[in-house]
Symmetry: C2
Subunit: 346 residues, 2 copies
């Protein structure tokens, strides 16, 4: 994520601490996935190519800094502990596991400008590899001194799965409302992002109130981030986003713009839009035209801008939580990250 | 498993303690899977029907008793602790997760005389439900006082997945040898069974040597159990075993009888047997005839009896470990369980 941010003099020291910390997270990640079996090593090496924005490790580190009173003015002197590195690697590993399984469920062929595991090695390898990543994340968790972090990660992983099951339940259900959409997003995406922020703070010498504030910041950021992701799936350019797009419609998943549009459209338009959505799910030229017509229909009810405004409002609400922390370069970094999360084109 | 054993006067008290403990394990299992979401509850309720032999919880409880010097003579007075119950529920939950995902990979339609999750709810629900079960197991693990049990479970779950990935790598590879077969089985099946035995002992007041012995007993029992499972897939009666059979051949998985047969058969017979294996993978009448011809070919090289003898020898070796524990009804129960594991028809 940090490549989305313009780093000025004030943020430069944080950027340096962050880069060092993320390099340690990558090393911890790779070490944990080592295996004596070539079959396992090969697949894990492929997963390492999935690592893109490193949003969750970035949040662990920035929240660790923002929560630590000593780091308020001089982040470059701050000690990012082994616990922070472990927790960051765990959060990224849980996230990778969901990506690998999501790609199986979505029948996606591309991710981060590369081929998905399911596309290259088959669904079976992808299912087992996802399981291996989850198990590795939990095993790594137990290297921490206390069980409370492992409990938080275990609980959040349950919540993430529950969100995915809820989403599946509403697949092809064109009556899904905004409230249900947000219930899904809070569970399947925001819970782990909130936990990343909370764990960063908890492993610093911060007070519980700070950890709670940063968890709430993460929750809001997570929802905003997912709304933007869903927008990009509908309106983004595949070459820029770097993964298969249009998968939501193709798999009968209605996201915020469509839900808003269907609620506002008259019955005739509603029927027409649903037919367009179905046609847009294909891979041919007709699909391309249908997708364009659908975007025009969404614009006519201002549904794209509704989703964009919602994402920005949620990001603003998340940023408001930060104002209750002491001022610091790390806090400012988090602030700009929340802006970038909803302004990004990939 | 205990229904496979003839319980005489000596074992009756253990049987009573075991039945009480397993009821508590079931309650812990169900409580952990509770959710506010009907979509999650419905799927979890279906998984509870999968519970069959409860082999892993049974081993946790019996090893807890066998390892505890106080339980040597009067098992009915033994306290099966909350930790034992938790550990047993965790082991069963990890096992359930692998069953749910295995059924997706194997495209199986039936398990324990019911429909599989993937058959009823689709592959997507089954993949996510498996993830939910793994996450629930780890979350439950963190309710234990120490992290060492959680670490053992995390590590064993990694090993189980690594075994599955190794198995996948050798799918459709007709040159697989017995050594590789046992490497797969030790990881994908025996590691969790060994951990069940070890954790039962570790949560009793036993010495480390006893826990190590029981882990070794579990490892041997686990391999023997899987060899017998693979035999039943090849030679069992679907109505008796209660799940889809012949899946190994259908999915290109060679197990001990076939590996032994192909190594001994002359080139002509080898080619014929491979064609029969392919034909037996279907669902029609020809497949039935091919399966019968294949069994005759396997008999001609004594490959069925080789596998059966191997299972018995492994079970005997496992039982020999028990002789180094003090004599007790629980130890005798474990002894008979190891005999039953390789004599069973389901």
């Amino acid at each position: 994520m940090n490549q989305l941010i313009e780093v000025d003099d004030r943020l430069a020291p944080v950027q340096g601490v962050l880069a060092d910390a993320l390099a340690r997270v990558e090393a911890r990640f790779d070490a944990q996935l080592g295996s004596d079996l070539p079959a396992v090593r090969e697949l894990c090496a492929h997963v390492e190519r999935y690592r893109g924005k490193m949003l969750r490790p970035t949040l662990v580190v920035l929240c660790a800094l923002a929560a630590d009173p000593r780091a308020a003015r001089r982040p470059e002197t701050t000690h990012v502990t082994e616990s922070h590195v472990t927790v960051a690697a765990v959060c990224e590993m849980v996230h990778m596991a969901t990506l690998v399984h999501d790609d199986v469920l979505d029948e996606a062929e591309n991710r981060r400008r590369g081929r998905t595991v399911n596309h290259l090695y088959g669904n079976e390898a992808a299912v087992i590899l996802g399981d291996y990543l989850i198990a590795s994340a939990f095993e790594l968790c137990t290297q921490l001194d206390s069980v409370s972090s492992a409990r938080l990660i275990g609980g959040v992983s349950m919540t993430t799965c529950a969100g995915e099951l809820l989403q599946l339940r509403f697949r092809d259900d064109y009556s899904i409302d905004e409230q249900t959409y947000f219930e899904i997003v809070e569970r399947k995406t925001a819970a782990l992002i909130a936990a990343s922020c909370e764990l960063g703070a908890l492993h610093s010498d911060s007070n519980p109130e700070t950890a709670r504030l940063l968890a709430e910041f993460g929750r809001g950021l997570g929802v905003a981030f997912q709304v933007q992701d869903d927008l990009l799936d509908l309106t983004g350019e595949e070459a820029i986003v770097g993964k298969s797009l249009g998968r939501d419609l193709a798999k009968g998943k209605l996201t915020l713009p469509m839900i808003h549009h269907l609620a506002l459209a008259d019955p005739t338009q509603r029927g027409r839009s649903l037919r367009l959505a179905e046609a847009a799910a294909g891979n041919d030229n007709d699909a391309h035209n249908a997708a364009r017509s659908l975007r025009q229909a969404l614009d006519a009810t201002a549904s794209i801008s509704h989703a964009r405004d919602t994402a920005r409002r949620l990001a603003d609400q998340a940023r408001a939580r930060l104002s209750r922390l002491h001022d610091s370069p790390a806090r400012e970094f988090l602030n700009r990250l929340a802006v970038a999360a909803v302004d990004r084109a990939y």
